[in-house]
Amino acid sequence: MTKWLGAFMLECKNIGFYYNRSNWLFRNIHLSIERGEIIGIYGKSGSGKTTLAKIMANYLSPTEGEVLVDGEKSNHSEVYPVQLIWQHPEQAINPKWKLSKIFEEAKELDQDIPSILGIKEEWLNRRAHELSGGELQRFCIARAFHPDTRYIIADEITSMFDAITQAQIWHALIRLVKERNIGVLAISHHISLLERISDRIIDFNQLKGASEKSF
């Protein structure tokens, strides 16, 4: 692929990772996400999907290989352009904060984002334990939309919620990323959900398997 095309992609190049030296979780993973594209990925629990998500969002460094964001390596001095949204919002929000402070975390948040996500004015004065998980997850999504965000990794973001909440959250999220031309990697074990939301679906075990053969 020519270099100028690669410039608008989140790329995993030859990524490998282990927690235990004798046991590679995965090796030689190649994956690229274009801007404005939603990729769904599924696989068994314990197969390393979340670890890959953490590596792509720069929470972890890969043991080998590199992650390129629009052709560049990560730069720690600025807001990282790949944002990760977690499965359990109640564990990702400071319980002592009022929720209005969550928006301050995202600095220059667009005015219309809270309303698109269905965040109500009265929730802002409350703390995390006074809202349900589905309501909190909307805050976690909102704060991922910093103006510099170019890619979002959504790791099982609706698996704890009922079908209506799930549909609400994904409709809002899809609208936001398409408007802003953001690339999304959606991780889920729910294949029919991925079929609804993604432009392309990948089986994580195949991704791993393909690389194993090439050793």
Binding site: G43, G118, G133, G134, F161, D162, I164, A167, Q168, H190
Partner: protein, 327 residues
């Protein structure tokens, strides 16, 4: 307007059903009282009006939104609800009123809770021993290992401590405990949470195994799909109320859910339409006058906003709470 025909069972059949009744819950409510700002007191109406019937050898799923107080429902039935809450209503176990004293005796023996958290086991005790404590007959160890095989666990797991087991394994251990005990009623709180597809199917199969053992299983879940796979009856829970109880036979025959909320939940499944209705359920601090779903309901009329619909019986164990059900 569509009128449902009541199934007219013979007296004998009715009696049989009555004798087979394991647990009956009527008008259950749970209110939490807590201090707000300063000296003001605040009331949270977590459960408002809950009804449920379950027979021997039957799986009933309680399906509701996350944060709707489903877990507290299990606590209220078992009598382990928080101290600052008031529980009201009638609970009958095997056609006898469940008093505080009786409840204490039955809890852990006749009625067993499978908790949502996988850290509920004793972290220092061997897994097998923990299962063994629930058994009443002798020759324990062998019997426990047999049960382990039945639920798909390696018999060697007997000697492991819980931290060496994965989340999926711990859920299987819970099922093994339920099988080992002589409990007649099992309440499983979100048994499929956080499991991948294959494990969910495995878990549902194991719940079926409990059912074959003639135990009654109440499965509390947010996953309508899983509920439809395993349950004989589905009770839909919304804003603290039972809005509908539907028999799976009705759905299998191509029938639809009768309450507008259940229909919305069904239509929101990714494989059915992925339709998101606007807005969220009323918060527990609100005192409701009309129907709890009136604000979101596409068919709501003036009447729905003023008058609270009662739970209408359709057949002996199917109910719906809507003026215009099935229209």
């Amino acid at each position: 307007m569509h009128v449902y025909e009541l199934n007219h069972e013979t007296q004998e059949e009715l009696e049989k059903i009555q004798n087979n009744l394991l647990l009956e819950v009527k008008n259950l409510s749970l209110t939490i009282e807590r201090f707000g700002k300063g000296w003001t007191r605040e009331r949270l109406y977590v459960i408002r009006d809950f009804h449920l019937k379950i027979h021997h050898g039957e799986v009933v799923a309680i399906v509701g939104a996350s944060g709707s107080g489903k877990s507290l429902l299990a606590d209220a039935i078992l009598g382990i609800h928080p101290k600052n809450s008031i529980v009201d209503g009638m609970i009958k176990y095997e056609n006898e009123l469940l008093t505080e004293k009786r409840r204490k005796r039955l809890r852990g023996n006749d009625i067993l809770l499978i908790p949502q958290m996988t850290n509920a086991l004793d972290p220092l005790m061997k897994v097998g021993k923990q299962v063994k404590t629930l058994m009443k007959q002798n020759n324990h160890q062998k019997a426990v290992k047999q049960i382990f095989q039945k639920v798909g666990l390696d018999p060697d797991v007997y000697d492991q401590i819980p931290s060496a087991c994965s989340g999926g394994m711990i859920r299987k251990i819970f099922i093994a405990m339920a099988l080992a005990s002589e409990a007649k009623l099992i309440i499983a709180d979100e048994p499929t949470n956080g499991l991948d597809y294959e494990s969910i199917d495995e878990m549902l199969f194991q719940i079926k195994m409990l059912e074959k053992d003639n135990k009654g299983v109440i499965m509390i879940t947010h996953d309508l799909e899983a509920a439809m796979k395993v349950a004989d009856k589905i009770a839909v829970f919304y804003a603290g109320e039972t809005v509908e109880v539907v028999d799976k036979k009705h759905l299998k025959k191509g029938g639809k859910f009768r309450h507008p909320y259940s229909r919305a939940l069904w239509n929101a499944l990714p494989q059915n339409g992925f339709i998101a209705i606007d807005s969220t359920q009323p918060s527990a601090t609100e005192k409701l006058t009309g129907c709890s779903f009136a604000k979101q309901c596409p068919k709501a009329t003036k009447k729905c906003k003023i008058e609270k619909p009662l739970l209408k019986e359709i057949s002996h164990d199917e109910m719906v709470r809507c003026f215009y059900a099935g229209m």
